[in-house]
Amino acid sequence: MNINFKNLTSIYHQNTPFEHLALDDITTTFEEGVYYGIIGHTGSGKSTMIQTLNGLLLPSRGEVRVGNIVLRRKSRQKDIHQVKKHVGMVFQFPEHQLFEETVLKDVMFGPKNMGMDRATAEEKAKHYLQLLNIDASLFDASPFDLSGGQMRKVAIAGILAMEPEVLILDEPTAGLDPKSHIETMELFKRIHQDMGITVILVTHDMNDVFQYTDKVKILNEGHLVKEGRTADLLTNEVLLEKFSLEPPDIVRLIHDLEEKGIHFDQMPKDAEAFVRLYEEWGANHAQ
């Protein structure tokens, strides 16, 4: 299922002195099965874009097409509800939205709300809890008795149990310590690979965007200024600087080494891959 934005404009507080153009005439496609990054400075329109993607905000002009459903300025609740079925959103601090008496009930809430019968909802809930390594012994525990990391996993299981075809991640690692940060990003990578769903990541962490996403869309002051393969755009330092974005650590290092005359024929994704590449280069260089 693809998502298409067609001449989409989003205006806050329209016809008031506070009128603000958040997204300006955006036409773009999110293709099925691709892991996307949306990047841009604070205030560039990232939040507006993802809220439009799952029907939380309706376009002021233009349209967003999610599969066969089209959302416009005056779309009806029924269509919005359909979009929410297909597009799951993991908000910042998703664990703050837990509310049920037990872990299992909490995860079942979303699927039931989407019209799944009780038995199926329970089956889905158990499946996704297990996928996220939440032990069956915790199913009847109160979600509020779990550790912070477990609570976050339960909240994510609740989104996955609705079996969305598109998963939006809004700064999913904000406030996490470094180890949990890595674990969370690896978890979404696994979900993307195993379930084959489209993932749309919004973050300020350029290292994560570089390491995990296939394609990026760059927003600046409400405009979609550039889109393309992550490997092309995030290695283009002139482009990044133009929109006040920092290059990923690895890109900065490779470029600084190039200035010293050390050239590599590929761009590694992380420190480990760089170490291997450098050692190879060293071995060849010594001969």
Binding site: T42, G175, D177, K260, A271
Partner: protein, 262 residues
């Protein structure tokens, strides 16, 4: 000067998991970073300092005076804190009102209140935003206003409890720049709580905590040198340190040095 002597705290009796008999001296005017994973004890330490947890073992001395039930309220006025979430710490309708709030509460005369509010906003480069609504600021600006509110109280010690973990990279830089400036003036002790090793570079000293204990302490270079202790404490090395450790051995070097040596 703040001295912790054999400080211990447990959330359940009989265990010392939260804080396990730590001793530490922080000199006036120093910038000390306390680094640790979630659950390492760093937040417990802050809560004790702020008087939120009172039932601890051991002693705390502030300026040579042992903290006790009689002087706790008075000594606590020497501490101010900035929390993690920039959206949870505003009370005023404007930036200026927010900074003045604490002073007003303490009955500071109006003229002095205006002077101290302006000086605090000036110190964090936010004076031109004095009439803005706090909720409309960026994350970095919000945290700078929170720092101004703390500074207006003229504390001896400013505690920053993961104050940059929820804001964007630019905001983080703004906050660290402001702290550098405050540190340069030499009056205020900074206690900087973080789990991000790349944020401790500007501090004078750093302390690594794990499971309620101090694993290592020293200058930032000394802390960076002991990568094994950092990794064992569930901390993640900054990118350039990962690369230099793997390719050039244990010796700590800056990013520029790494590029030179490769």
């Amino acid at each position: 000067m703040i001295e912790f002597d054999n400080l211990a705290y447990s959330y359940r009796s009989g265990e010392y998991k939260a804080l396990d008999h730590i001793s530490l001296t922080i000199r006036q005017g120093d910038w000390v970073s306390i680094i640790g994973h979630n659950g390492s004890g760093k937040s417990t330490l802050v809560k004790i300092l702020m008087g939120i947890l009172e039932d601890y073992e051991g002693t705390i001395r502030v300026g040579g005076e042992v903290l006790n039930d009689e002087n706790r309220a008075e000594l606590r006025k020497r501490f101010a804190i900035v929390f993690q979430n920039p959206d949870n710490q505003f009370v005023g309708a404007t930036v200026e009102d927010d900074v003045a709030f604490g002073l007003e509460n303490n009955g500071v005369p109006r003229e002095e209140m205006v002077r101290r509010t302006e000086a605090a906003l000036e110190a964090v480069n936010m004076l031109s935003y004095r009439n803005h609504e706090p909720s409309r600021l960026s994350g970095g600006q919000k945290q700078r206003v929170a720092i101004a509110s703390a500074l207006a109280m003229a504390p001896d010690v400013l505690i920053l409890d993961e104050a940059t973990s929820m804001i964007d990279p630019e905001g983080r830089r703004e906050v660290l720049d402001i702290l550098q400036k405050i540190h340069g003036e030499g009056r205020t002790t900074l206690i900087y709580i973080t789990h991000d090793l790349s944020e401790i570079e500007q501090s004078d000293h750093a302390v690594v905590m794990r499971e309620g204990r101090i694993i290592s302490k020293g200058t930032v270079e000394e802390i960076y040198q002991d990568t094994d202790a950092l990794i064992a404490s569930r901390l993640v090395l900054p990118f350039h340190m990962k690369v230099s450790k793997r390719l050039l051995g244990g010796e700590y070097m800056s990013y520029d040095e790494l590029v030179k040596r490769l």
